[in-house]
């Protein structure tokens, strides 16, 4: 008979689960409330979700304080890992979600928000992402990834349009493939190292000096493919524009921010030690991947006729830009990644929300997509305030100073420069110039063309106070980013540096 294992509660450190548990309890609470009383208005669920997220954020801030004082907190036999980047990324995830969820309060009725399940799934998804970043155990990463992804597929499909179903199925199929790749890659890494924890894998590989380099190659290639899908790196990006187009604009904006930061953190944990191990081919693969992702998606974005698809390609390009941080691998670059993503969250969410407020129920006459460029013609004459807001987000995305994203771009290029990646720095700069064109195109439509007759009624159809508030927050965050950069940078650098990245 086996000896009973004595585990003290203290060694489990249950507290490390608190942030995720809050999200899960919130989801369950919503389901239970629905059982008790049906037919509650969506505003109720939005606010309940918001409150739980606020609690979640509160515990994360608490963890942040603990981290700065005592360093990394481990829990559950070292499966849970609350280090600096876990806390930072969770804060971005939860804060991004808090900005997203009020977008449900549209003035038009949309199918999905009538289901309380939507909000429950949303909270489950957040818990999934949080698990993903708060561990270096490949299995828990996988569980978190799948929880979040399955919830997200459902959220897309709930939009209840034929394109949404197409998007959900496409995303699901691609996601399943990526999950397969991930499982296979983890299996190979486990086979050569005997561990599923990334730091153990790193230690074992370093101890025998990468003698199994062939297997490492196989494992890492599968991992890159898996993360390629999740981060929509070219050539694994093909699902992205279609899925963004099929989802509601709000959800598309969300997808361009939150799932990606989670994937970035895992990629950082996994690839960082490989980059630093001096395995040259990995650097080459990553280098090529980064450059192609930035450049190719920029060129595709140039030829789009629909603003949402353009933004989809643009967010692929931004992801490629940020992926450079993982290639560069210095503390400055990794801090740059978080800074960039924090600033990008505001701007990109603002841009997608501007599409969301201009969403009409049915397609425009003579148009085949929801947000063709023509729809925004002459907006400065009909809706000056909305046009200015949209232009602001576009200028920020293009990296025009002093708006938010410029500072992220500058810091990222600066980190490439100081790590000796001169050519990469130039490629990043020139890609920003290419990207300038397609953002400019929307500004040209809004400011320099004549309004389309009869389109006025389609503008701001979906606007409501809460949507406008979100746009206002995004705009303030974008304009005054310059004052936030220094405190952000100091905090982020401390967190990243103390986590050993």
């Amino acid at each position: 008979m086996l000896e009973p294992i004595n585990v003290s509660m203290a060694s489990l450190n249950v507290a490390t689960l608190a942030p995720m548990l809050i999200a899960i309890i919130g989801a369950l609470a919503i389901l239970v409330i629905d059982l008790a009383k049906e037919g509650l208005h969506k505003s109720f669920y939005v606010m309940v979700a918001l409150l739980f997220l606020l609690l979640d954020l509160g515990t994360l801030v608490e963890f942040g304080g603990v981290f700065l004082k005592n360093g990394t907190v481990l829990g559950f036999f070292d499966v849970m890992l609350m280090d600096g980047i876990a806390i930072l990324s969770q804060i971005i995830i939860v804060a991004g979600s808090m900005l997203f969820i009020p977008l449900a309060l549209t003035s038009k009725r949309f199918h999905e928000y009538n289901y309380p399940e939507y909000f429950a799934l949303f909270l489950f998804m957040i818990a999934g992402f949080q698990f993903m970043v708060a561990t270096d155990n490949l299995i828990l990463v996988f569980v978190g990834l799948e929880t979040a992804s399955l919830a997200l597929y459902t959220l897309i499909a709930l939009h209840n349009r034929s394109k949404s179903f197409e998007a959900a199925v496409k995303y699901f199929t691609m996601g399943a493939l990526a999950a397969g790749f991930y499982a296979f890659g983890s299996m190979v890494l486990y086979a050569i190292s005997g561990s599923v924890e990334i730091n153990q894998i790193a230690t074992v590989l370093a101890e025998d000096h990468y003698s199994n380099i062939g297997f490492v190659l196989v494992g890492v290639v599968f991992m890159i493919a898996a993360f390629g899908f999740k981060l929509s790196m070219v050539p694994f990006h093909t699902w992205t524009p279609d899925v963004y187009e099929g989802s509601s604009a709000a959800l598309a904006g969300y997808m361009s921010i939150v799932p990606k930061i989670a994937a970035f953190v895992v990629a950082m944990r996994l690839f960082e030690f490989l980059v630093h191990s001096g395995v040259v081919w990995l650097q080459v693969i990553l280098y090529i991947g980064v450059v192609i992702t930035m450049t190719a998606s920029n060129i595709w974005a140039l030829v789009q006729t629909d603003v949402k698809r353009m933004l989809a390609y643009s967010s692929i390009s931004h992801a490629g830009f940020v992926m450079a941080a993982i290639l560069i691998g210095t503390t400055q670059a990794n801090s740059g990644l978080f800074l960039y993503w924090a600033l990008f969250s505001f701007t990109n969410l603002g841009a997608f929300t501007m599409l969301w407020v201009n969403r009409q129920k049915n397609l425009l006459p003579g148009q085949s997509s929801d947000h063709p460029y023509e729809k925004f013609s002459g907006m400065i004459k009909t809706m000056p305030m909305a046009a200015l807001m949209m232009a602001l987000f576009m200028l920020s995305l293009a990296g025009i100073p002093p708006f938010g994203l410029f500072w992220g771009k500058m810091y990222m290029i600066g980190s490439a420069v100081s790590a000796g990646y001169t050519v990469l720095a130039l490629i990043m700069a020139l890609n920003s110039a290419i990207a300038g064109y397609y953002y400019l195109k929307l500004i040209i439509f809004m400011f320099m063309k004549e309004p389309m007759v009869g389109y006025e009624k389609y503008y701001l159809m979906n606007a409501s106070l809460s949507l406008k508030t979100i746009i206002g927050i995004a705009a303030v965050g974008t304009i005054f980013a310059v004052f936030a950069v220094n405190p952000l940078l100091e905090v982020i650098t401390r967190f990243v540096y103390n986590s050993g990245y």
Binding site: L395, G414, V417, L430, G436, Y437, N486
Partner: protein, 515 residues
């Protein structure tokens, strides 16, 4: 208040532009003029309070912006930037006062006020990133002015303008980041302060690369051959006010940046590239003069002549001695006054006839005598007649380069004289002969609104041509300290020889002040 005068100068127009959204449409013009006039008076006060004997930075302001990355809000002006700041406020005032645009005036004036902020900001910034912020931001209002009020090809022209400049500036940004990184390596501190960069002595091969990165950004802005192709489109399509501001101020950002960044930061590279750049400048002068001669559109003639004269500015800048650089800084002001005035004059006739083709005109001197007189004076100033403003600058620039190379100067000098041909030919086509076109017979002469803009420019063009000292002296003092700094920093023996040492020549005092 003088402690923060530069911040006030930068942000007052922007704040006024914000409030301008509230002002009613029919009062916006008066509002715009009022704001621009206050701003202009403030800038004159700046001149009054400026100490012309001191060569260093004055009215310095500093506040931490992103100290973790060495970015500070750092402002200050010296003799080089002082007058360009005044020129910016002056032209914004003149531009708004003589605005004949009737479509959506409110948007136009608010945009112009924002543009004024970015212009003053560029010339007052002493931190590379703050400089870059205003430099890039100035593209946006100009894009809107060309794209929304321009001619039939306005969208193409505005996008070309934006993308060209944007691409060049991004390469420059990489250069700036390198500069900051080298500073970090040398001192262990991040810094984007230009004054601190001045103290950094870089190995020559680094200088060459960084010079090239900065050069791309500046050369596109100037615009230097072969990057000049965006300018004729921009001028051709832009409304009058857009062309005026573009020619008078925005192009000066490039030449000013050469003096502020390239020369003192990379003295060895400046000497290394001196002759290639002089060759480009001479090609610019000759080639664009020839193109100007072939134009049928008077605005294009003025546009190409403006590029041609920018070539002289570049030549003077890369003479790398006090005469040349002071001359080129003075010529920046002169070029601003003259080409700004010429674009205003073209606007006057365009408003009346809605065409800019010279073949449509002829004999205007008898119909519009006052107009012909002003145009004549400005044209003479443009070809560099002695006792006009351009002459001083061109003469000094050429004199400066003469000390470096006789041959180059001779070619450039001849080219400038030949350049007079196209201006005189254009003037003849438009103003002399008989009035052939019926429509021209009833044309009205310049009216009061237009005179308000033109007369001050005429006075300036002659006054500073006859007596340039009040402006030239502060410029000279500051340029001397730049040249001395370059000489002290230069490493190669050729650079030491090419850049004069002023401290022997009784300029000891200036030298001490510079350090």
């Amino acid at each position: 208040m003088l402690d923060h005068i530069l911040s006030i100068l930068i942000f007052f127009p922007a704040l006024a532009a914000m409030l301008g959204f509230v002002v009613a449409k029919d009062s916006i013009r008066a509002y715009g003029i009022t704001v621009a006039a206050i701003e202009f008076v403030l800038s004159l006060w700046l001149w009054y309070a400026y100490d012309p004997m001191s060569s260093g930075m004055q009215f310095m302001e500093s506040a931490p912006l992103i100290p973790a990355f060495g970015i500070n809000y750092l402002l200050g002006i010296d003799g080089i930037s002082l007058f360009i700041v005044i020129l910016s406020t002056f032209f914004t005032l003149i531009g708004i006062a003589s605005l004949t645009e009737t479509r959506r005036v409110k948007d136009m004036i608010i945009t112009l006020l924002f543009l004024e902020m970015t212009m003053v900001g560029v010339f007052a910034a002493l931190d590379a990133i703050v400089f870059y912020v205003f430099w890039e931001l100035s593209l946006v209002p100009m894009l809107y002015i060309i794209g929304a009020w321009g001619g039939p090809l306005r969208i193409y022209a505005s996008v070309k303008f934006f993308l060209y400049t944007f691409t060049g500036s991004l390469v420059m940004l990489v250069g700036m980041l390198f500069m900051a990184y080298f500073y970090y390596q040398a001192t262990g501190m991040w810094s984007f302060s230009i004054l601190e960069w001045y103290r950094l002595i870089l190995p020559e091969n680094f200088q060459l690369w960084l010079f090239a990165a900065f050069f791309l950004g500046f050369a596109i802005k100037v615009p230097m051959f072969p990057f000049h192709t965006w300018l004729p489109y921009a001028h051709g399509q832009a409304p009058t006010i857009g062309s005026v501001i573009l020619a008078a101020i925005l192009l000066k950002m490039g030449t000013y940046a050469f003096v502020r960044f390239s020369l003192p930061l990379f003295p060895d590279a400046s000497v290394f590239f001196m002759f290639p750049i002089a060759a480009i400048a001479i090609i610019m002068i000759i080639y664009t003069a020839m193109v100007a001669y072939a134009q049928e559109d008077i605005k294009q003639v003025v546009a190409y002549s403006s590029v041609s004269h920018m070539g002289v500015i570049i030549l003077g800048t890369f003479a790398l001695n006090v005469e040349g650089v002071s001359g080129s800084v003075f010529l920046m002001l002169a070029h601003g006054v003259v080409s700004g005035a010429l674009f205003l004059l073209v606007g006057v006739i365009y408003d009346r006839r809605h065409t800019k083709l010279m073949s449509e005109f002829g004999g205007l001197a008898s119909v519009m005598p006052r107009y012909a007189t002003i145009f004549g004076i400005m044209m003479m100033a443009s070809v560099g007649l002695p006792l006009t403003i351009n002459f001083v600058g061109e003469f000094l620039s050429l004199l400066g380069f003469y000390k470096q190379s006789h041959t180059y100067t001779l070619i450039a000098g001849t080219a400038i004289i030949v350049g007079a041909i196209y201006m005189l030919a254009a003037y003849k086509k438009m103003f002399f002969g008989n009035v052939t076109n019926e429509e021209n017979k009833k044309l009205k002469d310049v009216n009061k609104t237009e005179l308000i803009g033109l007369v001050p420019l005429v006075i300036l063009a002659i006054w500073l041509g006859v007596y340039p000292k009040p402006v030239l002296e502060p410029i000279n003092n500051s340029v001397e300290s730049v040249i001395q700094l370059m000489h002290d920093k230069a490493q190669s023996s050729e650079a030491k020889a090419r850049i004069p040492n002023l401290s022997d020549a009784g300029a000891m005092k200036l030298h001490q002040e510079a350090h």
